[in-house]
Structures are given as C-alpha cells and as structure tokens.
C-alpha cells in the first residue's frame, strides 16, 4: 500500500530574516519538496505612481529615489529622468551625461555588494557580508562627497546633474577602482571555491532559457539563463554607447550562474568607470531648465538597465507641470514571477538560496 502523504502549506514571511524585506511566500510542500510557491506581495506598496501625479517633475526626483528600488536610487532617477528628458526634448550636456554614467556604475557596484552580502548571510556565510559592506562604505563615501547622500541622492536633475565633482574626487575613485579587483578576488576565494557554497548553489533553481523568456525575466537573471540582452548595449542611453564593456552571459541558469553574472558585472562596471573618468569632458553640467518645467502633451517610454534588470518608465503628460500618469515597469516584479518557475521541485531548504539569488527588492516589486 503506498504511503499517503498530505501536502503542507508553509507560510514564509512577511517578517522573515531572509526574505529581503517584507515578502510573504506561501509554499506548498509535499514532504520536503516544493510543489508550488506563491508570492504574496503588497506589504510595501507605497503608491508612488499615484503620488507622482501630484508632484512636479523636479519634486518627483526626490520621490522615485525612495518609492522604487531603494538600493539603487540613482538608477531610478535615471529611468525617470530619461523619460522626462525624452518627452520634453531637454538636452543634457556632455559632461553631465558622463557624470551620470560614472554614478550609475558606482550605484550598480554598491547594489551588487548589498546583494552579495545579504545572500551570503542567507547561505550561512556571514563573513562575506562584513567584507561586502566594508567595500560598500568606500563607495558610499565617494557618493557622499558628490551627491551629499549615502542611500538617497537626489543628484540628477532634469537636464543634467546638481553639482560637479569635488576636487580630487576622480583620484579617489580611480584608487578605489584599482583596489576593488583585489576585493572581488577575496569574494571569489571565500565563495567560489567553497564546497558548501557550491553544493547549495550549483545546479539549484535552474531557469531554462525558454522559461526565462516566457516569464519575462530580465537583468542578471535572464543573462544567467543565456539571454544576451542588456539595455545598455541594445538601446544605449547616456554615455553607454561610447564606452566598451562586455555583457557576461552564462548558459546554466542556476543560482551559481546568477552569482557569476553579477560578479562579472562588477568587473565590467569598473571598466566603464575607468573609461568614463578618462573621457570625462569639461563643460557645463546642467542645461537651463525651469524649476516648474512643463512638458508637452504626449507620452513616452524609457527603458534603462538598473542593477536588477530592465527598468521601464512610461510617462504620460497632459501639458501640465505634473505627470498625468506614470507607470513603472519594475525589474524585480517580473523576476519575482520567474521565481515560481525556478523553485518548483526543489527542497524547502533551497527556497532561501533561490530567493536570494534573484535579488529582488520589495519596494521595487510593490512600488
């Protein structure tokens, strides 16, 4: 007589040390195997899309920092301002474009470091967290010297950036670029060679290429599944068309591949920063744009590559000084959807490893 088992519903979150914020996962288990995972979102819904309709275009810069993906605040500003500038025909001086590129890449570095550190904690490697945050503090100091903020910057403005670099900043940034590959090697030493880490990540949570396309995965998750797509290359914005960098792509689609993609992306970010600092042209940093700028009637869709993937901002203007409607296509949201596919059939202990490898930010999911 076959043993009759019952399916068990397990509730993870919203307060769980490893769910990276306030995500609730309803996991249906058969013994120890996952039958189905249903994310329950909305615990951090901050209604930022609605709020943006009541604030002028300049004020919204302060809002998108906080309301969206808060680990990569500048990437949100970029996505939003790209839409504003495209719709309003505002041109950005060359120096500002390069400054934005530098800042965006530093933001990518700091965001990936947060991901690596927290994922390390999830997998039981607390040491990595300490090392990652040590390097991140250096980046935050560099940010603080330019933008005045550590996490939320409000640095980009319609038509440029707020302030120029302080004297001596480029030297400090280059010094960081010189020493960071050594730290990257440290992370590799700590994790990549570690058999426990490999056992928990290699071959776990595989997302095949066709599933990744169907589920709309983007960013590092898609690239780990063999989709060679990066908005920075496909639709270059700012100065990305003028710098050389590679898009790391892996075929395996497992947690380990996602880890390798991000590690390699950090290296490429350093490459971009170095080139950008070298090519940084002198000149204006901000074109004249009114504080209460009015955009012409129309609509625009701008897509950028945030550290988490393809960030799209759809902006409708009714000719007023406030947006008529803003819709944010959040990368974490579509990646969270792909998570259900990744987790099916794995053991319950792998939930945390897979969830961490996707790198979702709940503020980005819920907005």
């Amino acid at each position: 007589m076959p043993l009759r088992t019952e399916q068990l519903m397990l509730n993870m979150g919203p307060q769980h040390p490893s769910t990276h914020g306030v995500l609730r996962l309803v996991v249906t288990l058969d013994g120890e195997n996952i039958v189905e995972v249903q994310p329950d979102i909305g615990y951090l819904h901050s209604s930022v899309e609605k709020m943006m309709e009541y604030r002028t275009y300049l004020m919204n810069v302060a809002l998108v920092d906080r309301g969206m993906d808060y680990i990569a605040a500048l990437a949100n500003e970029e996505g939003y301002l790209l839409a504003v500038e495209r719709l309003g025909g505002i041109d950005v001086p060359a120096r500002a474009r390069w400054l934005r590129t530098i800042m965006l890449e530093f933001q990518r570095l700091s965001s990936h470091l947060v991901w690596l550190g927290t994922w390390g904690i999830d997998l039981g490697a607390t040491t990595v967290f300490l090392y990652c945050f040590r390097e991140r503090e250096v980046i935050l100091d560099l940010f603080e010297q330019v933008t005045g903020g550590r996490l939320h910057h409000v640095y980009f403005r319609p038509g440029g950036v707020y302030e120029d670099l302080p004297p001596g900043w480029t030297d400090r940034a280059l010094a960081f670029c010189d020493e960071f590959p050594g730290h990257l090697q440290e992370y590799h030493d700590l994790l990549t060679g570690n058999p426990i880490f490999l056992a928990r990540t290699q071959g776990v949570g595989v997302l095949p290429k066709d599933a990744a396309i169907t589920m709309g995965a983007c960013g590092p998750v898609a690239r780990a599944s063999g989709i060679n797509f990066d908005v920075r290359k496909a639709f270059p914005y700012e100065a990305y068309g003028e710098v050389e960098f590679d898009i790391p792509t892996f075929e395996q689609g497992d947690c380990f591949a996602r880890y390798l993609v991000r590690m390699e992306e950090m290296r490429q970010s350093l490459r971009i920063i170095r080139q950008a600092i070298e090519k940084l042209p002198p000149g204006e940093i901000r074109s004249k744009v009114q504080v209460t700028v009015k955009l012409p009637k129309g609509e625009v869709y701008a897509r950028t590559e945030s550290p988490r993937g393809d960030l799209g901002v759809y902006l409708v203007s009714s000719g007023d000084d406030m947006p008529y409607r803003v819709k944010i296509r959040a990368p974490s949201f579509s990646n969270l959807y792909a998570l259900t596919e990744m987790m099916r059939g794995w053991k319950v202990a792998d939930v945390i490893a897979i969830l961490g490898s996707v790198d979702i930010v709940l503020s980005d999911v819920d907005r």
Binding site: P17, G21, Y43, H45, M51, V114, T118, F133, R134, L151
Partner: protein
C-alpha cells in the same frame, strides 16, 4: 480537558517578587540596596539590547550598514536576533504600510517585557515623504506600537541610529525597573 473546574489562582512569581521588593523597600537601608540592585540590573539591560532584525524599507539597508564592520553595533552589545521571542528592542526601519501594520503589532506583542521601540527614519516617525497624497502608508508607526526614541533622517546615518540607541540606553539606565513590578501588581 474543558470539563475541569477552573483552578484557584496561583500566586505568580512576579507577585512574590513584587511582595519581596515591597518588604525590602520598607526596611531601613533597604531602599539603598534596592537602588543599587536596580542600577546593576539596568546596566545589564542597557548594555545588551537585542534588537529584532526587522527591516521594512530603505532604512533597513542603513541599519544593516550599522551592523556591518564600519559602525559595528555589536560593540555596544546590540546583537540582532531573528525571532521576537529573544528580542527586547524593535527597530522599525522604514515605511510601514497599512497591510503590514497588524504584523508589526503582532511582532511587538510577541516580544517579552520589558521592550522598547526605536522609530528609525522619517517614514516610521510620521510617514515622511509618503505623508501626503498617499493611501497605503501608515502615518507613523506610533499608531500601532508605542515608540521610545525617534531618529530623524531619510535614511538616518548609521551613526544617527547608534546615537538613538545610546539615547535609549540612557533612558533604560534611569528606569525604576524593580519598583515598576510592584506598581504593576498594585
């Protein structure tokens, strides 16, 4: 089980402690001893505040930075715990939605007494950037849990959070901890 008659109330441990404290307080010189014991207890409690690792939004990233190497909250005895049963401090880091509010409240209720709450950042304090034109964010975490220390900032620097915790320690150090148990029994 349900048919059993209700048991007569057993004097709880708390009540007997309260009675002992009350007697000690009446004795000559007992007051001084009580104060010294209280000082010692408070010193111990203040030097080992264990917060609940509980991040809501952006401020949680700065809280993590405060736990990391550079600011190192472990230095002053603040060691994060993953479960509310072991924690005596709750750092509400970030904006709290109306959907999340009952869960915050339940976590707070699960924490053993004495417990403290630090509201970190503008959002937890009063809604902050999400105060106006917003339908989903709670206008201040003090609507659901009592807050001891407010730390302003968006996000507050890790130092600002440490300063808030130091401030809370000052508050704990002067609390009439033992006498409050008497008061609670009265």
């Amino acid at each position: 089980m349900s048919t059993q008659p209700p048991q007569p109330p057993v004097p709880s441990r708390l009540a007997s402690i309260a009675a002992a404290i009350d007697i000690l307080d009446q004795l000559p010189g007992g007051n001084l001893i009580l104060t010294k014991v209280e000082y010692l207890l408070n010193w111990g409690r203040a030097a080992s505040l264990w917060p609940l690792t509980f991040g809501l939004a952006c401020c949680a990233i700065e809280m993590m930075a405060a736990f990391a190497g550079r600011f190192d909250l472990d230095r002053i005895g603040v060691i994060p715990r993953a479960t509310p049963r072991q924690a005596d401090l709750m750092i509400v880091a970030g904006r709290c939605t109306i959907k999340m509010a009952p869960i915050v409240r339940r976590l707070w209720e699960q924490m053993p007494e004495p417990k403290y709450v630090i509201s970190m950042g503008s959002c937890a304090t009063c809604g902050g950037p999400f105060y106006y034109d917003n339908y989903s964010i709670l206008k201040g975490i003090d609507q659901v849990v009592p807050v001891d220390v407010y730390v302003p900032g968006c996000p507050p620097r890790p130092e600002a959070l440490i300063e808030g915790i130091l401030k809370l320690q000052e508050k704990i150090k002067v609390e009439p901890f033992l006498r409050r148990t008497v008061a609670a029994q009265a």
